[in-house]
Amino acid sequence: MSSKVIHAIYDDDDVLMNAVKEVRAAHHHIEEVYTPFPVHGLDKAMGLEPTRMGITAFMFGLTGLGFAVWFLNYIMIDNWPQNIGGKPSFTFYHNMPAFVPILFEMTVFFAAHLMVITFYLRSKIWPFRKAENPDPRTTDDKFLMEVAVDGNEDEVASLLKRTGAIEINVKETH
């Protein structure tokens, strides 16, 4: 493992994108990029694996839908059939159209909330967790690229300088 990293700071997302591509083309390992906002296409440029959040969202949605079916069937059909506006209330499928808005809302509710929770867990963000952010300016208007170095500090530093970094810091890690 490398013991040193270079923190290169950029002030423009387009410059950053090109820099990421160049650094990767030169076969240096980018540990992490910190940005104040999501930069479209950055994950692809960094070569990160595609997110699996979409798959979880689909499964959470199905869970919500399944739950809503059971829930409504229990409330409106099994436990206490109610006569609302003269609508059939003795079988689920006869009364299904009336349930669609709730089925839909439950699906969205489950998908949305569980996805947020999943995202927090996956990103290891939970209450009272200390921020790992190496430079507070990346929460404002600067972009930071963390590149691992292994004895080739100067080479990497000059490459980063060329790609438009406005500031380069070498940091010891752990």
Binding site: G85, P88, F90, H94, P97, V100
Partner: protein
């Protein structure tokens, strides 16, 4: 420049010839007398056995909507309500000792009994209708069948073409950066507006002043309470639904569509050779105006051309529902033509991301369609007001049920499941597969909008229907691909062209 390949031309012409034969067959085999209708109905009965009763049942429901019998049917309307509520009739005492299984059965037997006895009776004395009158009625429906087949087909392709053009105008009005490479394809698809609307207008004139068919039942009603064909509903609708006004409006809609298309495309071609951006800017303004004007014309077009078939029924959401249906079909057709031309190498500047975006629109507007469908359906289903349920009765519980449920699955369940994955939206053959399902679904959707009011419960999807579909499909292919040969497939001078060429997801 694209050249219309002789293979495709032959295919288009073959479709038209086969289609014309099918349409001709449809007209020739239409029953001419009540005797023939009797025979036809008998054959159906033998064929479908037990379903015969259900067929009869549907007639009652439609006649309210179709208004062909031109008398108020409180009896009928009441019937519809009861039918929709059938399982409700089961009493609570039964509930205590029986669980779901028996319950469903209970509901069904009731329904069945109702269908066979209740309705049979009604046909006998409820309407005061003799068997001869019933056959007369069925004859009108049977005569409408080939006309309905061609009306659905001609309207489908016209509206697809108009909606593809609206999509094009939205791209221009939004100054979208991704789509200019597809502009010429969209312009090509919109070329069918001109012949398509002329055919539809001819049909409408033939149906009204020419008395060529009986599809629009309101034309045969009277607001005179003493007249035999008195129709209470027309007392309040007569000022809008009358033949001269209806025809004049139809001409206006069509002229507006053709006119805007003419000028916008003229500007688009002028931009190819222009030295400044004037035509481009003019097109921006025209597109914005057209979107607004189109929505107004489409609104009344749907009322006049489609909803007036069931003139006792009303739904204010209907025009948007029709629009959603045709809009998603229009986008699908644009995707088809793009994929075809690209596979032949005529669109080297179109990449997978463009296909991906079109597929996203197909996905999104399928859901939009479902949303409008359900918004329209649920309110009327829940309110259960007789005037409103007449529309859904033949479709949801009558003989159109398989088509109605089928098109719902094809237009909602399939697109949402098939097109959800973003990788699949980049695979052309996959998009074509999904598109075929969507187009079939929306064609059936239009058929189900029209047919219950014109052909009644004895519907078939046979030779005349396929013939009409093939004929207009052939004509559509011929017109669209001929138009595509007229200009280079990549427009020049559009300031967003570069952005569009390098567009990637």
């Amino acid at each position: 420049m694209y050249t219309f390949s002789s293979k495709l031309k032959t295919l288009a012409l073959a479709f038209m010839i086969i289609g014309a034969l099918g349409i001709g067959y449809g007209f020739l085999t239409t029953p001419k007398t009540t005797e023939e209708v009797k025979e036809m109905l008998h054959k159906d009965d033998d064929h479908e056995g037990g379903h015969a009763e259900a067929h009869d049942n549907g007639v009652g429901g439609t006649s309210v909507g179709g208004g062909l019998m031109a008398v108020a049917h409180p009896q009928d309307a009441h019937d519809v309500v009861e039918q929709l509520e059938a399982p409700q009739d089961t009493s609570h005492t039964e509930e205590t000792h029986s669980k779901e299984g028996t319950h469903e059965e209970e509901g069904h037997t009731k329904e069945d009994a109702h269908a066979s006895t209740g309705h049979g009776e009604e046909h006998g004395d409820g309407h005061g209708m003799s068997e001869e009158a019933h056959l007369e009625h069925e004859l009108t429906f049977a005569k409408n069948r080939p006309w309905t087949a061609i009306y659905v087909a001609m309207l489908f392709f016209l509206l697809v073409s108009v909606c593809a053009f609206v999509y094009y105008c939205i791209q221009r009005a939004a100054t979208a950066g991704w789509s200019p490479v597809l502009f010429r394809v969209m312009e090509g698809v919109s070329a069918y507006i001109v012949p398509g609307s002329i055919i539809v207008l001819a049909f409408l004139i033939w149906s009204s002043v020419g008395h060529g068919n009986h599809m629009f039942a309101w034309m045969y009603t009277s607001i005179d309470p003493t007249a035999a064909n008195y129709d209470y509903a027309m007392e309040t609708k007569d000022w809008w639904l009358n033949i001269p006004g209806w025809l004049v409006r139809s001409v206006i809609y069509v002229l507006i569509w053709i006119g805007f298309r003419h000028f916008i495309i003229k500007n688009s071609r002028a931009q190819d050779t222009a030295s400044d951006l004037k035509p481009y800017k003019r097109n921006f303004t025209l597109s914005v105006v057209f979107i607004v004007v189109f929505l107004v014309t489409e609104l009344f077009m749907a009322f006049d051309w489609l909803m007036s078939i069931d003139h006792h029924w009303f739904s204010q959401l209907y025009p948007f529902y029709v629009f959603a249906s045709m809009f998603v079909s229009g986008i699908t057709v644009i995707a088809f033509v793009t994929i075809y031309l690209r596979s032949k190498g005529f669109l080297p500047f179109v990449n997978d991301s463009h296909i991906h975006d079109l597929a996203k629109y197909m996905f999104a507007f399928s859901i939009f369609w479902t949303y409008l469908f359900f918004a329209q359906f649920m309110l009327q289903w829940y309110a259960n007001i007789p005037e409103e349920t007449t529309y859904f009765y033949p479709r949801l519980v009558g003989t159109y049920q398989p088509l109605f449920i089928g098109m719902l699955i094809m237009n909602f369940a399939f697109p949402i499941l098939i097109l959800m994955n973003s990788d699949y939206k980049r695979i052309p053959w996959f998009v074509v597969l999904a598109g075929l399902i969507i187009l079939t679904g929306h064609y059936l959707d239009l058929f189900v909008m029209v047919a219950p009011g014109t052909v009644g419960s004895n519907w078939h999807f046979g030779v005349p229907e396929f013939g009409a579909l093939f004929f207009f499909l052939g004509l559509f292919i011929y017109v669209v691909f001929t138009a595509l040969t007229k200009v280079p497939l990549q427009a020049k001078g559009n300031p967003l062209m570069k952005e569009s060429e390098i567009f990637h997801y």
